[in-house]
């Protein structure tokens, strides 16, 4: 070690660093707390949550985005919803990316699944090939509603972070598990197959659910009732 290096080590011992707080109690509370919350989880949701927890946290650790204390974590196949103290900061560069405009036939051929089509006749279809297995988005003509469908794999494609002003409500949709998010807008992050962020932005009311092999996300409904009605109209694309 040179004289300068020794001087730096000595300087380190004289630094005015704040005293380290005792974290053991707070950490313990948080790592044992999930057991106490189980009563209001449905069994199905609990199983799903457990299944995605490891993956979601693995992904969370790898995300170079700002995030605050993770308070709760909900999950569906290919999607996670986390309750946080503070919303992550958004990079304005990552705007909305629906993918390329395609016909319904093209979407059905290119995606790794058969899309579920809304009854609304005036919808525009987009295909995002960078998403794992491909993602198909329907945008209503008035641009108010967006429905995104993808094959729900274990890797979270959609990650939502919600602050205390957002309600997160478990709800069954067409017989599958789902969540309704309403109130204050939340942050939604879409990832590509490599795990990189493709899109990160604020989103309003969202219904997120599993149906068959698909995970679906409907954004922009005025109410949970309207969202569930639209979900009820979905039919498999003609072969």
């Amino acid at each position: 070690m040179t004289e300068l290096e020794r001087a730096l080590v000595a300087l380190g011992r004289e630094l005015d660093l704040p005293a380290a707080p005792d974290l053991a109690a707070a950490v313990r509370t948080r790592i044992v707390a999930p057991a106490a919350r189980r009563s209001w989880f449905s069994r199905r949701a609990l199983v799903l949550t457990a299944a995605v927890l490891a993956v979601a946290l693995a992904a969370a650790l790898a995300i170079p985005s700002a995030r605050s204390a993770l308070l709760e974590l909900f999950g569906l196949r290919g999607a996670t919803i986390e309750r946080v103290e503070r919303l992550p900061a958004l990079d304005p560069a990552t705007g909305r990316r629906l993918g390329a405009p395609v016909s319904l036939e093209q979407a059905g051929e290119a995606a790794s699944f058969r899309p579920l089509v809304p009854a609304e006749p005036d919808v525009h279809v987009f295909l995002d090939r960078a998403s794992p297995g491909g993602a198909v988005t329907f945008r209503w003509d008035d641009r108010r509603l967006l429905l995104t469908e993808f094959r729900g794999e274990s890797t979270p494609f959609i990650q939502k972070s919600a602050g205390s002003g957002t309600r997160i409500e478990y709800t069954e949709v067409n017989g599958g598990p789902g969540y309704w998010l309403a109130g204050q807008r939340h942050v939604v992050v879409f990832r590509d197959a490599g795990g990189d962020v493709r899109e990160a932005r604020l989103a309003g009311n969202v219904l997120l659910w599993e149906q068959g092999v698909l995970t679906l996300r409907l954004e922009g409904a005025r109410s949970k009732t309207e969202a569930l009605e639209i979900a009820g109209t979905l039919r498999p694309a003609p072969v």
Binding site: A7, V9, A10, E14, L15, D16, I31, P64, S68
Partner: protein
């Protein structure tokens, strides 16, 4: 600086099986260094506490992926440091390190350490001022490697860079500090 907790491997294995008490002992052992790393990176005591707490919780939940034959400390510190980096990015803040007030006066009762002889109070303050004006990436390697006494490998893990990059940044930073010391003396 904390010592290695007794039977760390055993504690980690117990924690992997869901033993919260065992994990509590791990937290006790490493919370000091975890907090200081987070403070140096995030630049704020509250953010540092949040980062350290979040890091410990995330590490616990990721324990299943940790191989117990690997050293635990760098793995844990990397998770905490990552939390702290995320917070710093969101606020754009940078820690202004300062020398303890008591350290600026020569202490009467304690025997002078060899380092203490090398570095008197005035030079300490000057040196710190120089470190504080380094580019952030250089300031961080200096702070983690020397101030917090992390190994090069731990510094690399904490900053998410390669050991080779730590070495080159350190040598650049040291050269810059030497240059400035020359200028100050003239």
């Amino acid at each position: 600086m904390e010592g290695r907790p007794p039977e760390e491997k055993e504690l980690v294995e117990r924690a992997q099986r869901g033993d919260a008490d065992a994990y509590g002992q791990i937290v006790q052992a490493y919370q000091g260094i975890a907090f200081r790393i987070a403070y140096v990176i995030a630049g704020d005591a509250t953010d540092a506490e949040d980062s350290a707490q979040e890091g410990f919780v995330k590490a616990y939940r990721a324990l299943g992926r940790f191989r117990t034959d690997a050293p635990f400390r760098p793995w844990l510190l990397q998770i905490v440091a990552n939390e702290a980096r995320n917070r710093r990015r969101s606020t754009g803040r940078r820690a202004r390190l300062a020398v303890r007030a008591s350290a600026q006066e020569p202490s009467g009762d304690a025997a002078p350490s060899p380092e203490g002889e090398v570095l008197d109070a005035e030079r300490r303050t000057l040196l710190l001022a120089e470190v504080n004006t380094l580019r952030e990436e250089e300031r961080l390697v200096i702070a983690l490697r020397y101030f917090l006494d992390l190994s090069e490998a731990e510094t690399a893990a904490a900053l998410g860079i390669r050991v080779g990059t730590v070495k080159s940044r350190l040598s650049r930073a040291l050269a810059r500090l030497r240059e400035r010391a020359e200028v100050t003396r003239d």
